[in-house]
Subunit: 155 residues, 2 copies
Amino acid sequence: MRITSSIEYATRLMVTLAAEHGKAPVPAERLAETDNVPADYVSQILVKLRRAGLVTSHLGSSGGYSLSRTPCKITIEQVVRAVDGAVFEEVCERYDDGAKDCRHQGQCAISPVWTRLGEIVTRYFESVTLAAILEQKAGSCGASPAWLEKLAPGK
Amino acid sequence: MRITSSIEYATRLMVTLAAEHGKAPVPAERLAETDNVPADYVSQILVKLRRAGLVTSHLGSSGGYSLSRTPCKITIEQVVRAVDGAVFEEVCERYDDGAKDCRHQGQCAISPVWTRLGEIVTRYFESVTLAAILEQKAGSCGASPAWLEKLAPGK
DNA sequence: ATCATTCCTGACCTTTTTAGTCAAGAATGA
DNA sequence: TCATTCTTGACTAAAAAGGTCAGGAATGAT
């Protein structure tokens, strides 16, 4: 299981745009340099982010991209969904030719394990906003943000 | 993000073996049929599970595979690690040519997000045992097992 | 108006990973 | 002794990830 380059890159771009929020739009080319992302790839990712309504594009000279809303209102969940389509893919029926003899139906107890995992991951991603990441970066708030707090129960 | 076929298949095999725990070893071919996994693929997966010490093989006629310990002591985390090598791969440096100009070092605030996710996923997998899945399957205990309980805090 | 800037679209390519197959061989128990 | 069952490792095919490219259209600056 791993974080794809699209997700990593998209997150970098969004964090950078968050830092520039309120200022002038940032051209894709500058984002590519700043965030160390291949120039032709960055455009593709930005298109997805735009279609998802997370960023706004401005044509013409001194154009570029900017966040379409405040960094507080944008979560990693939204970023991941924008570039990958879904945070967690359904497992059911993927590994069973059609649905015949599917181990995931009726009495199967395995699929709930994956479904639950998807919920947990989604829940976590929803709890992390661009603003929180930025805050962490600036080191402006001493204490760790909520999403970095220790897990509650057992070891 | 998704569950690979290896993980899904390995889990099916382990659950089936858990159900047969204490009885005679189960041949790979029978596992393939029972769990609807390609026959030649099942052996490969079982080899990994054996090398990880999760199952024991018995040669000769009436041989086969059996769990190497009680289903209570085997977690999904162990199964995933056995077939995929790691539950969650490090993100750092994967997307930065070498380490030069790496966004993941020093002041970068993104990598902790992924690291934390890895911890959460690992923690979850560690909480799910084969015994728990089996119990759920049998419907023997009315209430949901711990790992299916509602998440604690906010919506 | 013109023109450099910047985004838009979609096709294309390469590499890596996933998923699955195959065959020869060695150990074991009946 | 021999059918059964695992062992090993190489091999292949398909899908996904990762990245490139080119032609075009919109916009703002001058």
